[in-house]
Symmetry: C2
Subunit: 335 residues, 2 copies
């Protein structure tokens, strides 16, 4: 970790009524801001080529050869065997007059990013990363056909500290019967901004970040990669389309290839700099049943994990981070 | 973990526009809902009796003998050497026209719960737990004298998975220059409930939980202990005063002793059932500069940690839990 002058500053997340305490002194604590390395243990794996029978049948596949649910695939999407949510009809909200509940209806799928157990997403060729992104987009398009699905959350848990329980490279897709808290909050903040300013908050942010340049890690024709002003996590990095677009799944072929280029570069940089660290990535996008929005703009967040969430974060909904985004961007740019 | 019929249900947190997916099937995943045991590594410790010179000077102490910052104490509160926030005057909000920031002004203190490295909070006698709670209350009362302090967040990080970096039993207090996200959200939900119903949401919840009894773990004269309807974490447990009170620091002597009784019992039960698990506890209370509120009601949350937060929780602000509160309460009642 590079040193920087001691800075203690609170910064407001522009979307989430959430403040981040940036404090470089905290990096001096024993054991702080270590990014534990991922080690693979091997052993039998349900996601490896040849073990297709162990998973539920595939719902999407890119294959070079072979039959459905056999060998010869490049990217494979299957229902999660331990799904968070169940198949079913429309979820109704129930109330006992005080508490509210809802049937746990929805979908939970696993995107197996490669047949190779020992490759990681960041090791793949850009063309293979583009195929993974293609699979993501196709699943969004398919899942939104079900009118009961209000939101599709795509994420990856890499490494134990990132919540990962299986080693084989995979991402997850959860199709939910309601729009989650974070998406609602983001949209509401973005709507207020739009109503006040007549512009998309994210489009303005892109212009500002490009102008200031100090938090920019990389950009190609269609995507900007930068460390956000109020990063909740050390080395938090966002990838955002430079042209306005509210829905991830409306991405075209060129977007997909450019996103693959940016995504692969950033993952490589993060792994180079942080030494095979655990991370999550999440796609923040508009609710799938709602039409294109002038005030919302999708993005991908990459969230490296240096330490578990503690009582401060759980109690307040605020975060503490010892690496400023200006410092992180400088390190990642060179990494 | 006791088995229960497979249940997949979404439940809404009554305060935090946050839904929890309750799914007992998820407990069957490899490695899920394990509560890793805490092991102590020993070695030199800044919080042990005899090492008082290593910490900043104490700001509060309960002693049986000896001089300030020497041996002979029972509970000791010191500024955190690696404080999240700095001393200073009133924090001003700054804006560059787009982003907002604020000077990182506030206090961060450590409550050393016992001079004994190898005791845990749940091992202490009830009278000693009452002294720890007394220290908490006194620090709230002192910290709120500074008008720049808008909120006091008390929490404990027990075990590495709970974000704990030092083994010696301690809690932490952060005095913030603004009211955190979670407290604002809770209060806003509670205010709406009060405006609609003319009653305190929490008082109604207490009556309902006592009536239904199925989520109650324990109660004494002044406190109810129960597993909340929409627990974000397996075995999440709340301790709440049965009489209406918005501010933790307004607790009287009898409250303090009864809270110590309830707190010690619950911590013991959790440790008995989960095998020395990592946990956080947090106090959710009203902002310290604001007068008593008819619509808000303080409580303590105990949050055992079975696995790290993953991309789903980070992306959505929702949670997945494989143990229902009804099941958890039954197990804890007997534990």
């Amino acid at each position: 970790m590079e040193s920087e002058n001691n800075m203690v500053e609170l910064r407001k997340h522009p979307l989430l009524d959430c403040w981040v305490i940036l404090n470089s002194e905290r990096a001096k604590r024993p054991g702080s801001t270590k990014f534990p390395s991922i080690a693979k243990s091997g052993g039998s794996c349900p996601f490896c080529e040849g073990n297709e029978a162990i998973t539920p049948p595939e719902v999407f596949v890119l294959r070079k050869e072979g039959l459905a649910n056999g060998k010869g695939w490049r990217v494979r999407v299957v229902p999660n065997k331990f799904a968070m949510l169940q198949n079913g009809e429309k979820a109704e909200t129930l109330s006992d007059g005080f508490y509210q509940s809802m049937q746990g209806i929805g979908k939970h799928e696993v995107v197996i990013e490669t047949p190779l157990h020992d490759k990681e997403l960041h090791d793949l060729e850009v063309a293979s990363v583009a195929e993974v992104i293609f699979a993501f987009r196709e699943r969004f398009r398919e899942l939104k056909k079900s009118p009961g699905i209000k939101y599709v959350q795509l994420f990856k848990n890499y490494g134990l500290m990132g919540g990962g329980s299986l080693e084989h490279p995979h991402s997850q897709i959860v199709a939910l019967p309601l729009v989650p808290k974070s998406a609602r909050e983001e949209e509401s903040a973005a709507k207020i901004f739009f109503d006040n300013n007549g512009t998309c908050l994210f489009c303005d942010m892109i212009r500002l970040e490009q102008g200031e340049a100090k938090r920019v890690v990389f950009e190609n024709d269609r995507f900007l990669v930068f460390c956000p002003f109020a990063p909740r996590y050390a080395f938090e990095t966002w990838i955002i389309p430079k042209s306005h677009a509210s829905h991830f799944e409306e991405m075209d072929e060129a977007d997909k290839d450019q996103l693959a280029d940016a995504f692969k570069k950033v993952l490589m940089k993060i792994q180079n700099v942080l030494g095979n660290a655990a991370y999550n990535f999440v796609i923040c996008t508009a609710p799938v049943q709602e039409a294109g929005k002038a005030h919302y703009h999708w993005r991908m967040e990459i969230l490296p994990i240096s330490s578990p969430i503690g009582g401060f974060e759980r109690g307040t909904g605020f975060f503490v981070n010892s690496v400023s985004p200006e410092n992180a961007a400088e390190i990642l740019k060179e990494g």
